[in-house]
C-alpha cells in the first residue's frame, strides 16, 4: 500500500507543474512567433522561386477547441497548394497561459508557416503580455510572391487608438514605385461600421481585400460605397477554414472550406447613413 501510494505521488509530481496562479505569463510556446514563421516562409519562397499560383489557409477563433484546431492543421498539411496559414486571432478564450500553450501544441503539428494576429479574447487577463512574448508584435507586414500582407491590431475595446491608419498606409505603399500584385489586410475583427472612413482609407491605399475571424461563421461582404471586400472565416471546427487563392495579376479568389471548399463571392451591404463619411458643409 505504501509503495503504491509513493508511486502515485511520484507520477503526480512528474506530471504536474508548479504554478502560482492561473494568471502566470510564462507560456511555453516554441516555434510559433511571427518572426520565426516569417523566416520559414521567406526560406520557402526562396527555395521555390516565383510561382503562378498559391493558396493561403485562413483559420480563426480556435479557442476552447485545441483538438479541432490540431485536426484542421493536419488537414491543411495535406494541401500542397497552401503555402502558409493566416491565423486570425482568438487562440484563447480568457487569455490565460494554459489556453495559449494548448494552441501552441496544436500549431507545432503544422508543416507550413503560421502567421498569427491577435484577437480580442487573446487580449484578456494578461494575454497582451503573453502575446508579445510568444508571438511578437501586434502589427506587422510582410511580402510574399510580390503580394503585400498587412497584419494589424483592431481590437478596439482592449487597445487604445487602433487600428493605426497612418501605419497601414505606410505598409501598403509600393516600394520605389513598383506596385504590389495584391495588398491584403489581415486582422481579427472586420471593419466596424462605426469606424467612419476606415474602409475608404484602406481602399484609397490600394488594399484589395481584408481577411478576419471574430464572427464565428463564414461571411464575405463589401460596403456599397467602396466595394472593398472583407472575408470572414468561420470559427475553427474540425475542420473549418477559409482559403485564399492567389494568382499574380488576377483577381483574388476565396472559398469556404470544411472537408470540401465552396467558392465565396462578396455580398454588397448598404451602410447606414450615420456611418457614411460627412460630405462637408
Amino acid at each position: 500500500m505504501k509503495n503504491r501510494f509513493l508511486l502515485l505521488l511520484a507520477v503526480l509530481l512528474a506530471g504536474c507543474q508548479y504554478e502560482l496562479s492561473p494568471w502566470q505569463t510564462d507560456a511555453h510556446c516554441p516555434g510559433v512567433s511571427v518572426e520565426e514563421n516569417l523566416a520559414k516562409l521567406a526560406a520557402f519562397e526562396q527555395s521555390i522561386g516565383k510561382v503562378d499560383y498559391y493558396q493561403v489557409a485562413i483559420i480563426g477563433d480556435p479557442q476552447q477547441y485545441p483538438g479541432s484546431f490540431e485536426s484542421t492543421i493536419k488537414h491543411v498539411n495535406n494541401l500542397d497548394d497552401v503555402h502558409f496559414i493566416l491565423l486570425v486571432g482568438d487562440l484563447a478564450e480568457t487569455g490565460v497561459k494554459a489556453e495559449f500553450e494548448w494552441m501552441c501544441k496544436a500549431m507545432s503539428k503544422s508543416n507550413k508557416p503560421i502567421i498569427s494576429v491577435i484577437g480580442n479574447h487573446d487580449s484578456l487577463s494578461f494575454g497582451k503580455d503573453i502575446w508579445l512574448d510568444v508571438f511578437g508584435p501586434y502589427d506587422f507586414a510582410f511580402t510574399y510572391q510580390n503580394s503585400r500582407f498587412v497584419a494589424y491590431n483592431d481590437n478596439k475595446y482592449e487597445f487604445d487608438d487602433v487600428p493605426d491608419r497612418d501605419w497601414l498606409a505606410a505598409q501598403a505603399a509600393p516600394i520605389v514605385d513598383q506596385p504590389w500584385d495584391h495588398v491584403i489586410g489581415v486582422s481579427h475583427i472586420p471593419p466596424w461600421e462605426a469606424d467612419i472612413g476606415f474602409d475608404a482609407h484602406l481602399k484609397e491605399n490600394d488594399f484589395e481585400l481584408t481577411v478576419h475571424g471574430h464572427e464565428s461563421s463564414f461571411d464575405h461582404w463589401q460596403w456599397q460605397d467602396d466595394l472593398l471586400p472583407h472575408y470572414i472565416t468561420t470559427q475553427n471546427r474540425d475542420p473549418g477554414f477559409g482559403m485564399l487563392s492567389v494568382y499574380p495579376g488576377l483577381p483574388l479568389e476565396l472559398s469556404d472550406c470544411t472537408r470540401e471548399c465552396v467558392p465565396s463571392v462578396p455580398r454588397t451591404v448598404v451602410k447606414s447613413a450615420a456611418a457614411l463619411p460627412s460630405q462637408g458643409p
Binding site: 500500500m1 505504501k2 501510494f5 502515485l8 505521488l9 507520477v11 503526480l12 509530481l13 512528474a14 506530471g15 504536474c16 507543474q17 508548479y18 504554478e19 502560482l20 496562479s21 492561473p22 494568471w23 502566470q24 505569463t25 510564462d26 476552447q64 477547441y65 485545441p66 483538438g67 479541432s68 490540431e70 478564450e93 480568457t94 487569455g95 490565460v96 494554459a98 489556453e99 500553450e101 494548448w102 501544441k105 496544436a106 479574447h121 484578456l124 487577463s125 494578461f126 475595446y157
Partner: protein, 189 residues
C-alpha cells in the same frame, strides 16, 4: 481592495466559529492558489470542510504582483492508512477532493465588466474555479501536510470536451497538460 476586505471579513467570521467540530488554519503554496495562500475554515458534517483565504504572488518575471481571495470546499474521505516510523505514528488520507472559487485582484482583471464593453460581452476574468485533489499526511492529530493537484476550470472543460487531444499530446492520460501541483500545511485547533 474590495476582495481583500471581503477575505478579511470571511477570515474573521470563520475564526469565530468555535462551535464547529474543528477550526483549522491552512497555509498553501502553488497549485494555482498563490505563492502563499492563508485560509481559515471549519469542519462541518464530519467530512466536509469550508474555508476562506487570501493569497499573494509577488512581482516575478513570470507573474504580476497580485493578491487573491478564495472560498473553498473540501471533502475528506474518512479512510486513513496509519503507520509508524521510529515510534511515531503517522496517517495518510489519500482520497480528498475539493473546489475553490478564486478571485484575483489586479487592474488588468475584472469581476464587473468595464464600462467600455456592451453588456455580457465577456465573463469575468478575475473569477476562476479550481478543482483539486489532495493527499494528506497526518503528522499528529492536529497537524497535517498535504500534496495538492489542481485543475483550472478551462482545463477541466477542455479535457472533457476533447480528451483525445490531451491524451495524444501529454503524458499520464493527458493530465500533464492540465494539472498543477502545490503543497500545504494545515493545523486544527
Amino acid at each position: 481592495m474590495t476582495i481583500q476586505r471581503m477575505a478579511v471579513l470571511l477570515l474573521l467570521t470563520f475564526g469565530q466559529i468555535q462551535g464547529a467540530n474543528a477550526v483549522f488554519m491552512d497555509l498553501q503554496s502553488g497549485s494555482l492558489m498563490g505563492m502563499v495562500h492563508a485560509s481559515v475554515g471549519g469542519t462541518f458534517a464530519d467530512n466536509h470542510h469550508l474555508s476562506a483565504g487570501v493569497g499573494y504572488v509577488p512581482k516575478l518575471d513570470r507573474h504580476e504582483e497580485m493578491s487573491m481571495g478564495s472560498l473553498r470546499y473540501r471533502y475528506q474521505n474518512p479512510y486513513r492508512w496509519n503507520f509508524s516510523v521510529k515510534d511515531r505514528s503517522y496517517g495518510i488520507s489519500p482520497l480528498n477532493f475539493g473546489v475553490a472559487l478564486l478571485v484575483g485582484s489586479h487592474k488588468d482583471l475584472f469581476v464587473k465588466l468595464p464600462d467600455q464593453y456592451p453588456d455580457g460581452y465577456y465573463n469575468p476574468t478575475a473569477i476562476r474555479l479550481i478543482f483539486n485533489y489532495q493527499s494528506i499526511l497526518h503528522l499528529n492529530e492536529q497537524t497535517q501536510v498535504y500534496f495538492d493537484v489542481s485543475v483550472l476550470d478551462v482545463g477541466l472543460v477542455s479535457y472533457v470536451r476533447e480528451p483525445e487531444f490531451f491524451m495524444d499530446n501529454y503524458d499520464y492520460l493527458g493530465l500533464e497538460g492540465i494539472t498543477n501541483w502545490g503543497f500545504g500545511l494545515r493545523h486544527q485547533f
